[in-house]
């Protein structure tokens, strides 16, 4: 072989490797191998342990979906489940710090959870299902479910009818998803557009699966009609009272209602069409109820 022929592109110089490549389709091609030989390109120094402004806090710490600015000022979370417990603890008068977090940080896989201040060095988190029991032990408030038989019954309106309509509006309505859910849940997680797309698809798929559990197809009209019925029933239940079940102070049920009504009526989230908001504004007492409770924040 002459040196000139060696330089001709597309021709492999080595006899042995040529013969073996002819035998095997799947051997690693030389250019790819050359690239892989250069790895690792750079080895970074190991990261420090996570440390943030709030890891020094010593009070009760409630981990919710929120942004850093909102956490500093204790603003309402943008997730209904988190907001419900945030509001409840606020209403019964327990002091706590809000810490921005996400599902991956939670031992149970779901937010919110709370790490209590006492006993010190106790790192056992309290999941949301046990928060009420913990709050009752702390401040000796009442367990409201026991006081009125309608508590559980009307709570099912929030947990199913309104929740399904909320899931549809936030995640499956394309305009609202792009305007509201994406900036809140997807964009803070990553700057990479491929990761963002994948996360967005996962979120929407999860919402769709959740709604399809109870019906064989998604009927938007029916979801909205059911939400409208639910608002009407809640409005009748509230009547002219300041709080649900005519209690002197707001409690768990008020927190559950507020969690949805506040977010549906919150214009700062950037709702586009906000069909649920239109339905909710027909009930003046629910709107006023939300405004009264917003003063706690």
């Amino acid at each position: 072989m002459t040196p000139e022929r060696r330089d001709t592109p597309g021709q492999t110089p080595d006899n042995v490797s040529t013969a073996s490549r002819a035998r095997d389709f799947f051997s690693v091609p030389a250019p790819v191998k050359r690239i892989f030989d250069r790895f690792p390109l750079v080895t970074y120094p190991s990261n420090d342990l996570p440390h943030s402004a709030w890891s020094d806090k010593r009070g009760n710490r409630l981990y919710v979906f929120t942004d850093a600015a909102g956490a500093r000022r204790g603003r309402p979370s943008f997730n209904p489940q988190c907001l419900k417990w945030q509001a409840y603890l606020r209403f019964v008068g327990i002091d706590f710090d809000v810490i921005p977090s996400n599902n991956h940080a939670s031992p149970s896989g779901a937010l919110p959870f709370l790490i209590p201040a006492h006993p010190v060095n106790n790192n056992t988190p309290i999941p949301s299902s046990k928060l009420q029991k913990w709050a009752i032990e702390q401040v000796h408030c009442e367990e409201e479910q026991q006081l009125d038989l309608r508590f559980e019954v009307y709570a099912s309106l929030l947990d199913h009818r309104i929740r399904n309509a909320w899931l549809y509006t936030l995640y499956l309505d394309p305009e609202e998803f792009a305007a509201v859910a994406k900036p809140l849940y997807v964009d803070p997680s990553s700057k990479n557009s491929a990761v963002r797309t994948a996360l967005a698809v996962q979120l929407q798929q999860a919402a769709r699966t959740e709604i399809l559990k109870t019906s064989s197809y998604i009927d938007v009209g029916a979801l909205e009609a059911e939400a409208s019925d639910a608002f009407e029933a809640l409005s009748t239940l509230l009547g002219d009272n300041l709080h649900f079940f005519d209690r002197p102070n707001p409690g768990l049920f008020d927190a559950s209602v507020f969690a949805y009504t506040h977010l549906i009526l919150d214009e700062e989230l950037g709702w586009q069409r906000n069909r649920l908001g239109q339905l909710l504004r027909q009930h003046e007492n629910l709107v006023q109820h939300r405004e009264r409770l917003l003063k706690f924040f």
């Binding site: 099912s156 639910a230 009748t236």
Partner: protein, 432 residues
Amino acid sequence: MVLELHVWGPAFSLPSIDAQCLAAIAYLSLTVPKDAWVLVASSDPSVSPTHELPALKNDSTWVSRFRNIVDYLRQYSNGDWDLDQNLSGLEKADNIAFSAFLESRAQSLLDLSLYVTSQNYYNSTSPSYGAILQWPNQWILPPKLHTAAKDRTEHLGLSSLDLEAIEEQRKREHSAAVAAGHIPKNLIPRPRDTVSALLGKTSQQNQFKLEGLTAELFEPLEEILGEKKYFLHTGEAGPTSLDCLALGYLSLALVPELPNSWLRDAMRSKAPQVTEYTERQRKNIFGIVEIEHALSADGAKRSSSILPWQAVQRARLATVGSTLYNTIADATPIWKDIRLNNRTKEALQESSELSGVERRAASMYTDAQTKDVWLSVGTVVAGVAALIGYMAFTTSQATEVYEDQVDEDEDDEPQFVLPDQPMQVGDMLAAL
């Protein structure tokens, strides 16, 4: 025009095996005159374009789901066939709230009792479906419903009622121990539990949870019913749509004779008045229904029931064909997604309450979804084509070089061979 109500067929001496269907039957028999409607135990959701039962058919209009049927009957009769017209403010709110409460809580308890509890499913529910379904649905639908019920109740953490799940779990633990590798395989004891021992072990935990769940459902119902004749009204004002819905769910909890009857026992002990109410209403509205009432072609036999049964048409070849086609389509990964999106679209175009803008937005969304699916199909095809192309290319190149070295003089050979290769790749792409 005679209204046709299509439902899941009778089981457990009730007119239907599904709670929503029972509720719809009760509602129609209380409102619509007996000669204005017929009951068809078609037991096949594909009869209706919405793929749901119960479905009400009037000429060419189909309405499915209990709530929509109630609304349709009110509009169709100009308010005559309506049980909820005399409700006051709080009663109306209670009607809505208790309906939502029943649909969520009672449905999950029925799922647990009839489907998730293995003994009940294999000894009662599954054979009942076998009796009312036609070939090939009797092989396709029950497993589907079984899985759906398991999915719906997963969050309650009661999968230990399900013997299959326990068996799987045990196999997983066993193989995990083997995989850990520290214990020789033959030394790991293989637990030989009998069915009763298995149930005995988990039954205390289950008992606590079920106790809580049934109390959550039955206590509010017992309290609101009280001494009254109906859930919301005392007597003369008559039943409401809530009574129909409650009858649907509660009769399915009370009536079936199941091997593991925890739901019925809980209902009898926690809610004696509701139990008595359910028995009374069931006798008045449903009577005792045998499968022959619904399915036999003999008119005399049918008329012995208090419900206006109409004989079911035998499945035609086209129906069977389309069922098989749908089943295969729903089991194929990418095809399934396309069909699911189309189903949402069909439903959207049908529902007339949506305003123009909303409908456009919604169908834009489903179109985009379909495009996404096609895009992924395209990507996969292109990827496969690229792989095949690469393989073809390396082979030919290797041969060229080989030839090149044999005949050292023929330097131009590669230039002649190479242009052919892209053509081959193009052919493959076209073929795909």
